[in-house]
Symmetry: D2
Subunit: 271 residues, 4 copies
């Protein structure tokens, strides 16, 4: 029963450290969420409960991992950005990848009843997770832009698709055929002319996805979704622990967001 004669097997555990000096992005994706959303009767094309639950789970991850500076989510995916010089778990890839996805999943299941009060979980949902390293700010921003552009493209498509199915009675196959080869402008036109919908008036939650960042002491959220410096420390007293994480639905492709939040890319510039 001596443990020592077997301990040589530990030597098979190889180091998998992430290159220093790079942004560490952990992206999680729902596994077979097409089926999961059907079984659990998600509203199409966007289920506000599901999106809210995704954000709640992401918030849990940010509360636990202090070195995450931003998270971006849309549909059944979420990306978590660890600051460039983080030493979390000594930058070990598997440790980071697994802890983040495990905590996210755990929160997703635990908080499910808060968001789906009338719909029980039929089976345990799961997510995969990967790490991608980005060596500089521009490439990191391009990564986030890629995900937000993806959100836009999918949401526009899904919005028209489900309108055709739910509003016009087309079968999914017919709707798909109708949209084949159409440009964004064509889809906007269909929405406007056939359904009297101005796509740009739809909820930012759907069109932009969700951006979670840390609220800084002395900052409050203005009605425009942007932050301004608070004159009074008082307002912050109303913030609970969890409210230290801000959930925005804003454009992160354009320069503006990054100018307003210089502390994200450069924590030392933080006010």
């Amino acid at each position: 029963m001596a443990k020592s004669k077997f301990e040589y097997v530990k030597s098979f555990e190889l180091e998998d450290k992430c290159l220093p000096g790079c942004w560490i992005v952990v992206r999680i994706d729902g596994k077979s969420f097409h089926r999961f959303s059907d079984v659990h009767h998600f509203v199409k094309p966007n289920d506000e409960r599901a999106l809210g639950l995704m954000c709640r789970a992401a918030q849990t991850v940010l509360e636990d991992f202090k070195d995450i500076v931003l998270a971006y989510g849309q549909s059944d995916e979420f990306s978590f950005v660890f600051k460039k010089d983080t030493s979390v778990y000594n930058r070990r890839n598997s440790k980071i990848v697994s802890n983040v996805v495990s905590l996210f999943t755990s929160a997703f299941v635990m908080f499910w009843p808060r968001f789906f009060s009338t719909q029980d979980l039929q089976y345990p949902p799961s997510f995969d997770s990967r790490i991608v390293l980005y060596p500089n700010d521009q490439i990191l921003r391009d990564y986030l832009s890629w995900r937000q552009a993806d959100c836009h493209i999918n949401n526009l498509y899904n919005t028209v698709f489900w309108k055709l199915v739910q509003g016009k009675g087309l079968t999914p196959a017919q709707a798909q055929q109708r949209l084949k080869g159409t440009l964004s402008s064509d889809k906007n036109e269909i929405l406007f002319s056939e359904f009297d919908i101005n796509y740009n008036n739809l909820s930012d939650l759907y069109r932009k996805g969700s951006v979670l960042i840390r609220n800084k002491v002395g900052l409050i959220l203005t009605s425009s979704g942007n932050q301004t410096r608070s004159k009074s420390a008082f307002s912050n007293n109303h913030h609970l622990q969890s409210s230290r994480i801000l959930t925005l639905h804003c454009d992160i492709i354009r320069e503006e967001f990054w100018r307003e939040h210089p502390e994200i890319l450069n924590p030392k510039k933080s006010s």
Copy 2:
């Protein structure tokens, strides 16, 4: 909003394929479970509810990943052994590591109320996960022996430790001091002479941990925990879906287990 100009960022996702021809072991470990077990009032040294829940979560993983041939669990850890030639997720490390730990965590939280009917979850528990590759059967068996020897050593220690604390009123520090430098034989002796406990009579669940394997058609479980060939196919009709996974609490260090289950190491030898 064109997605394409950002898509170059995908080139930063590097391949992380596991070497072919090796056993893939995924080991998950509870994160800060010392604290978690305190907050949720786990019975010490072994909480049957927690161990049952761990096994239930592991069972979910085996039901989903058909290429897992064996899982071994003890305390807050579980090891999943994928067959040598598995092509699950094209053997991508992150995919496997993340999907397994996510599903395990999901099941752990979802099934929590079944095992802890009077104790709500206070916060979302999480697990880390890593892959270790073992190039041949002997080293794989040594790995499993290492974990089971670890189970034995820890359980013997914890059993005496908590007896001293709960039965004799020692403080944790005093109990620790008392056990410092003692051999296994010393601990057995303390249990026997001071608490009238024969360690070998304690539950196999505690002393051996849990071994999950697949039940083969035509096999039934004998009272000794070993399998014998069933003469009748009838008995299998009683097995439900979930009962296709057997949970044993037997010795996997000795030759005997492997002689009885040749199909684990060599699926082609399976009856």
Copy 3:
């Protein structure tokens, strides 16, 4: 000028250890040797000087790296097999890959004049190198069989091709066209009927490539190329340092070679 403020850059050097318990194969390949062989007027299809030089360079590598149990070479490539449990350079991938290819190249250039007495080097030749890990003996043998089968296939093709060009005056394009789609049997037939050549009578050096193994004390080489146990220690006195490495041109695909040299796969069985 303080070195210490810059030393953090060392943290960017990541570990690249080879998985323990696996055969480490280092394969080197000539870079642009088609051009190199033209510029240096290699005899086609096989230049005995070049093949001899390759073997001499490989011998230098075996003399330096005691954990190499076998090397196999053909054309402008050589594979070096390190024993499964080698701890050379602590199994660091880059260290092994670079040292082997550097020493091979160094010997290739240094010994060039011995093999090409009338032909100066026109420019420095180079080789690339990679490590492949093979987790068990069978797969290692399949790897070596793959390289030897490759030797056979290429050599048969090249032998006929150059006969057509040199003996029949076909242009390379015509020879290529003539051989398109032919089977091995077709090529053998062309050699026999048109050039009166029995392929099997050609030199083993060309057809089988070169196998370098270590000569064991107390073993001598018989005329058949196989080893038998020497009755007398005397014969070994004739062996110089370098003759401790045997260069064979034998079949390593069939069982026979491995039965005669059990010490290659299992050093402990060595006599």
Copy 4:
């Protein structure tokens, strides 16, 4: 002899691509060059022939690999910097690491007689090689500063050490003892007061090492070692192929060098 049944072994060759967007530095180091320099009677502390040969070998590497923007060498080591966005060998680690060290070694041996006309090679020298990735310009510069600071520190030490041995008749052990714990200023003082040597007047080749960069059309080397724009295209006609590589012995720690050569860090700024 069918090759195909063995070809599955190729699946064991795993991808080892370098992260995009990072500087790729290949550093080669002489293997056991302490012994090599003794056997080949190198002049101590600096052998001009050996340093010249190192630079000649490095020049060959730069001529072959067009994506190397700078090389820095000192003692028996050389670092080659590939531009951030190089796609050489599709950024495969082993390919790059092995080809560079092989070509360097090849040139080192081939050009040996040009530099050591009266000293034959006694055995084939070799080098190891590794890749380190640096995600941004500052860290790359810090890496190069680290190597040049190392050059300075070692050269100062070696200069005093060998003066004590060669000029004062101390044994190596005595010289080592004498220098134990001394600061740079102490060593400078010993040189000045005991040997009448002003360290700063020693050759830049020894004190700064060697910097190889590409000569741009329209640039000529001034006497100060800096480049100025040439008024006349004529002067360039005198440059042979190999003279397109400049070998400098200048400070690369300070800002000046990088201001004069902006094209190194940003090829698009190249004139």
